[in-house]
Symmetry: C2
Subunit: 235 residues, 2 copies
């Protein structure tokens, strides 16, 4: 039976966008495991797997139900040791926590500042209400006001991505010669922006973009199976 | 024959202070290798090992001469595979580059902004001239002016250390249950400050400080073999 992946979507159920869910999708592909994506809206999360989790991603693999992207990656590594490794050993697993902390703490807030107004517009009515209330509380301002600060957020993001840029001078992937979960962590943060907003967060000549494109090509171009967000203003 | 470590010092040759040299010192201790520290001033670097390197650290191990802290760690891992691992596997080695890029790009400039005026004061006359010229060019201001911005640099540093703080919520070391080279990378950045300036860059209740103290205890308290920088203003 394929692994079930509860995957966050908006009103278009064919466009999963959560960075945390994308990490798990890429991890499942990396392990070569068959899986079925179950489109899940924000307000539907409490009902999945009899209330197993307040967050997505959640996977069900046989009798195992696991939530939290890193916990899922650890589960997959433990459960499928003969499949391609996600961490490249214990040191890689410990250090992937470092990459996760960097992505969550330094990238996500700035990407959210660029993308949240567009994410709001992708959602159905009940999820829109949830999104507006929770995100306006988090950012301390109206969603509409966030748009005015996008260029500044992008500039700060470009500086913080210097860490990734520096690593990519030496090796094609954060995992070394080939991608590991560390790559999927940062990839998924940028994929979140790609799928939700037409506001481009990376400069066309940024080496981080070249790496991101390499990641989009992985596993049969899985990252490209969801198209770039359309330009809403031009539409 | 013990490994020779060319180790950066100022006018007091018993106080090595370079973060890059500290990484190698900790790596040699981690591997349990006997080594001899050769105190080296900035202006003496071009003469070591017949001009082998324009930077320290440099090690000589038998016939091998290696410079650059990460290259040295890689050399030690390769040359002494039966000794305790510095990376915990290939994934850990690749990810240690990420931690290095974070430390070099996000921590070092702010620590330098806090410490460089005091580093200058530790040096002999020839090294002082080199330090003033190169660092004033890098920072675009007089060394004396840097002191005025120290509180601001410390505040920014505290925010950037959120990445480390976040990892330490889950595990006692960046390497997991035990330290790896990733720990020594960040440790050595903070040790650089500890040895060179009495300006405290970490709050007393910062979990990063508790981890730093754990690192100072490692390998027989090797990090404590050089005392904290004295308070020059109080002296």
């Amino acid at each position: 039976m394929p692994v079930a992946l509860y995957d966050l979507v908006g009103s278009d159920t064919s466009r999963p966008f959560s960075p945390h869910c994308w990490k798990v999708r890429m991890a499942l592909l990396h392990k070569g495991l068959a899986f079925e994506s179950i489109p899940t809206t924000f307000t539907a999360i409490p009902a999945i797997e009899n209330g197993a989790s307040s967050i997505v991603p959640v996977i069900r693999d046989g009798d195992a139900v696991v939530s939290d992207s890193f916990a899922i990656a650890e589960y997959l590594e433990r459960a499928y040791p003969d499949r391609p490794t996600l961490f490249g050993g214990e040191g890689g697993q410990a250090s992937a926590r470092f990459v996760e902390a960097y992505a969550n703490g330094m990238l996500h807030p700035l990407i959210a500042a660029c993308a949240v107004p567009d994410i709001h517009d992708m959602l159905g009515p009940a999820d829109q209400a949830y999104c507006r209330q929770s995100r306006e509380k988090r950012f301390g301002q109206r969603l509409e006001a966030l748009r005015d600060g996008r260029a500044e957020a992008r500039e700060a993001l470009g500086a913080r991505l210097g860490v990734v840029r520096d690593v990519l001078k030496r090796q094609p992937f954060l995992g070394g010669e080939a991608p590991l979960f560390a790559d999927y962590i940062v990839f998924s943060a940028l994929q979140w922006a790609r799928v939700t907003t037409s506001f481009k967060i990376l400069a066309v000549d940024d080496p981080v973009l070249a790496w991101f494109e390499r990641c989009l090509d992985l596993h049969g171009g899985a990252g490209r199976s969801v198209s770039e967000a359309p330009d809403r203003e031009a539409a």
